[in-house]
Amino acid sequence: MKNLMIKYLLPAFVLLYLLFFGSSAALSDEGKEKFSAPGPTLETAFPKSNRIEVIPVKPGEEIPDWVARWELARVLSYAKLYDESINEYEKLLRKRPDLTEAKLELANVFFWKGNPDRAIRLLKQVPQKEMTEETKVLMADLLVAQKDYAEAEPLYKAYLNTHPEDQAVRLRLAEMLSWQKKYDASLNEYRKILKKRPDDMQVRRRYAFVLIWAGKHSEAASELKKTLD
């Protein structure tokens, strides 16, 4: 055993030692100059979630005018200067009609400005597959405001398929279904919400009202009683 250790293990140890630790001693000063720790980046030190989005441009590359105009349009909307923001978005889209994301943002600005018709018209130009999940919800909300429930329903459902935990959107769908007198479907959505939020009295009351509209009076009374206990 001792022989084995001397024969193999010790030489292996020595070689490994020289390889890993001896190398630092063998480094020339020039080599050491080159040893420099990687610096922090915008991503590692200042996470994206804490920043207002900018359009990325490769380092060293000149920032093109359309990028500056897009960012200006965004900042104008943050400053609630909606008319000016719309103006900048329209200038941008005249030059770059391919910028779907800018179109979606412009639709949002129209919505914030209180012009849902323009927002919907713009959103309808965007192919469904290029829409973000949040845009689908925005479009559904806008369609509901216009009482276009048939078009809104699949958008809410598509969103909830990928975001089943978003109870706020589920509630909007449940309400909309009840307005269409689709009581069973609406009650089904309310039950899903109440399963996750059993103590939400406001939702339970709305659920009870839909039960009344559906003619399920005794069940409604029991639910209303729960909100008074």
Binding site: I6, K7, L10, P11, V14, Y17, L18, F21, G22, S24, A25, A26, D29, K32, E33, F35, S36, A37, P38, G39, P40, T41, L42, T44, A45, F46, N50, R51, I52, V54, E62, I63, D65, V67, A68, R69, E71, L72, V75, L76, Y78, A79, L81
Partner: protein
């Protein structure tokens, strides 16, 4: 017997080389220690290594830059400012140094300091569009929308 003597000699050589290196080049050893902390974003641990090196007269641009960055990261902006001034004064290309430091401050969300650096740069090169846009971005991130809008418009040549 001969084999064990050889092995022991090799171990002794390895140990001696390392020991000699540590004795002859303690600054480099400390620098590497600081760099390891820096690369792992452990800035508060890197600072004492770099500061001791500076005290020992071991002053390279890399060291100053990393020490300044570490001060920015830990929020010691006064000390960062002293280091950054030193870097700018020692740099053959002062504007490039100013830009580098503005970038570091932006990375760590020190927008006010970054704004000062970008404005300093623009005093020398007022028609540099890209830097004006970088300034506008920093102003946006710090919530100064009015000033950001003005800078974007200047970058687009729509405002003087």
């Amino acid at each position: 017997m001969r084999r064990s003597v050889l092995i022991l000699s090799l171990i002794a050589i390895a140990l001696l080389t390392t020991l000699t290196y540590h004795l002859l080049n303690p600054n480099w050893v400390l620098f590497r220690k600081g760099e390891i902390y820096y690369s792992k974003n452990k800035y508060s641990k890197a600072i004492p290594c770099y500061a001791r090196l500076l005290k020992n007269g071991f002053e390279t641009r890399e060291l100053l830059l990393h020490l300044g960055t570490s001060y920015v990261a830990t929020g010691d902006l006064e000390k960062a400012d002293t280091i950054f001034r030193k870097i700018i004064n020692q740099s053959p290309n002062k504007l490039a140094a100013v830009m580098e430091l503005a970038g570091i401050c932006t990375i760590f969300g020190r927008f006010k300091t970054a704004t000062i650096f970008y404005r300093t740069f623009l005093q020398e090169q007022a028609d540099n569009r890209s830097v004006r846009i970088l300034l506008a971005r920093v102003l946006t991130w710090s919530g100064h929308f009015d000033e950001a809008i003005l800078e974007y418009k200047r970058a687009l040549g729509e405002e003087k």
